[in-house]
């Protein structure tokens, strides 16, 4: 009896976890495909009587520059551009700094590390006004460049954190050999160390993209027009004081969720390794 019970319980528990995770997702998707009549009915129609793709069609085809569909499309592009730019910037700066942390000795190394941790503890609201001011001075307000710059300021510490962990895991002897062969430090970093740390690079880039994709507060304050508005802001605006359009909100939510969810599903291995590298050093 016991022999049978244990696996059965395991499967039951696994099924429960799967339902708990998938049910809200499923509901979001179903809602976005239900006609309004079904959405707002009592008792609720769990399964829509027919699938209504009109919201997705609206989002992808509406050409009217003030429509929410158009705004959403622009936001999708903005989010992608910002995620790409801030990842690029943070990786460039972060890798150099991580290399310094992992391989060089300099004064104040320890306290600098703590400083990064401290910035992580500080809520963004503390910096948002200062950042806003700086962007104004640089004429980068309400631009994707400006937002990418702001994002880099909080993504870079993550990059440093993760990459120095990966660098430290690689034995220093390998580079030393290349330094003897007449490589500069930068040369050995690019030619020897980075190729060895490719999995780490991929992981860090994924994290950076996800962080940028998810950020809300800075985007809320720093952007206002379709020139730079990101997805989270655009979706939040689907529910204003007037016109709470639940259907559009759910459809927008589904679309905004697809990229990060796909990334995490396909590149799971990298993410888990990143979580552990980041955590073990903590």
């Amino acid at each position: 009896m016991r022999k049978l019970l244990a696996p059965l319980l395991t499967y039951l528990a696994a099924a429960a976890v799967a339902v708990w995770i998938l049910a809200p997702f499923a509901w979001l998707l179903i809602s976005s495909l239900s006609p309004n009549v079904d959405l707002l009915s009592r008792p609720l129609h769990w399964i829509p009587r027919h699938l209504d793709f009109s919201r997705y069609v609206t989002i992808f085809t509406s050409s009217d520059p003030v429509s929410s569909g158009y705004t959403f499309r622009r936001a999708l592009v903005n989010s992608s551009v910002v995620a790409f730019l801030s990842t690029l910037l943070s990786m460039a700066v972060g890798i150099l700094a991580a290399y310094a942390f992992a391989r060089l000795r300099f004064r104040g190394k320890g306290s600098l590390r703590l400083l990064f941790l401290a910035t992580y503890m500080l809520p963004p609201i503390a910096l948002v006004v200062a950042m806003y001011f700086i962007l104004g001075q640089l004429h980068l307000r309400d631009t994707v460049w400006g937002l990418a710059l702001v994002y880099s300021s909080f993504i870079t510490p993550y990059v440093i954190w993760l990459m120095s962990g990966y660098f430290e895991a690689i034995p220093a002897e390998i580079e030393e050999a290349s330094l003897v062969d007449g490589c500069t430090r930068l040369g050995s970093l690019v030619r020897v160390l980075l190729p060895l740390a490719v999995p780490g690079l991929v992981t860090t880039a994924i994290f950076s993209v996800l962080l940028a994709w998810d950020e809300f507060l800075y985007a809320l304050i720093m952007t206002s027009s379709v020139a730079a508005k990101t997805l989270p802001v655009a979706i939040a605006e689907f529910s204003g004081q007037y016109m709470v359009d639940y259907g559009m909100m759910t459809a927008g939510g589904v679309l905004a969720a697809i990229p990060p969810v796909l990334i995490s599903f396909l590149l799971q291995r990298y993410i888990i390794s990143g979580l552990l590298t980041g955590a073990v050093k903590g």
């Binding site: 696996p7 395991t10 499967y11 528990a13 696994a14 976890v17 708990w20 995770i21 809200p24 997702f25 509901w27 979001l28 809602s31 959405l39 707002l40 009915s41 009592r42 008792p43 609720l44 769990w46 401290a118 992580y120 503890m121 500080l122 809520p123 963004p124 609201i125 503390a126 948002v128 006004v129 200062a130 996800l210 994709w213 998810d214 809300f216 809320l220 304050i221 997805l231 989270p232 979706i235 939040a236 529910s239 639940y246 909100m249 759910t250 939510g253 905004a256 969720a257 990060p260 969810v261 990334i263 995490s264 599903f265 799971q268 888990i272 979580l275 552990l276 955590a279 073990v280 903590g282």
Partner: protein
């Protein structure tokens, strides 16, 4: 900035030293927000830890479909916070929400409830949304910790006649200490800074029931134009996080 009276509706911003801090510390609504945030932090972190541990133990057992489940577990974590907030707000909707429909159709409720309509209930609903999204992260970290525990330890314990529960208490928990600490610290920091999900789901209402400290700082700065105060509150938040983190480390560090 936190050392100036930076009220934007006033033409000048005099230097006031620590007066902002003194004023904040004397405001009851600040302490209420701190209390609420502590509740949010403790409950959400606690639940995430417990559920995460349960899921980690489950994933640590060999069974068919384990790989698939582990892949699924990551999904909520990858969902953008804003989307998560919108999703739960929609589920909790008093008139058309899935939660009401589910519970009434299952016979557990006889009338639709307004889940986000009373302070306690709203705060707990926000916690639920946060727990749903962040538990997977805790589960994966703990799972990694579980997988570093050598099997021989369990085998020798079994020979000594220790049952499953004794093994769990004697071997698993002590060796998971580091992983637990990491989860606690990381989740505490995040929970203390919680903003996005509040903004989307409740905007601090009803009756200030979900006015957490970070949201309070935001309203002070942007609705009331008291930038000095908003900045000062932010530094206080960082201080609280620091204290809590140090406390955890003290508690869970193996005695040296």
């Amino acid at each position: 900035m936190s050392l100036h009276e930076w009220n934007l509706t006033m033409p000048r911003h005099p230097f006031v030293g620590l007066a902002n801090y003194a004023q904040i510390l004397a405001t009851p609504s600040f302490w209420q927000a701190i209390g609420r945030t502590l509740y949010f932090t403790l409950v959400s972190t606690g639940l995430e830890l417990l559920l995460g541990l349960a899921i980690a133990l489950l994933l640590n057992r060999p069974f068919r479909g384990r790989g698939l489940l582990r892949a699924l577990v990551l999904l909520p974590w990858a969902l953008p916070t804003v989307v998560n907030g919108i999703m739960w707000r929609w589920i909790d909707n008093p008139d058309y929400g899935a939660l009401n429909a589910l519970l009434t159709q299952a016979g557990l409720l006889h009338a639709y409830r307004n889940w986000l309509g009373s302070p306690w209930s709203a705060l707990n609903m926000v916690i639920l949304a946060d727990v749903w999204k962040m538990t997977p992260l805790a589960a994966l970290l703990l799972l990694a910790g579980l997988q570093t525990i050598p099997r021989e330890l369990y085998e020798s314990a079994a020979i000594d006649g220790a049952g499953g529960w004794r093994q769990f208490l004697g071997i698993t928990l002590p060796l998971l200490r580091t992983s637990i600490l990491i989860v606690l610290v990381a989740r505490t920091i995040e929970a203390f800074k919680v903003f996005d999900i509040i903004y989307i789901m409740t905007r601090g209402g009803p009756g200030d029931g979900t006015m957490t400290i970070a949201y309070y700082a935001y309203t002070q700065a942007f609705s009331s134009l008291l930038f000095g105060k908003g900045a000062a509150i932010s530094y206080l938040i960082a201080l609280f996080i620091l204290l809590l983190s140090v406390g955890y480390v003290r508690l869970l560090r193996p005695a040296q």
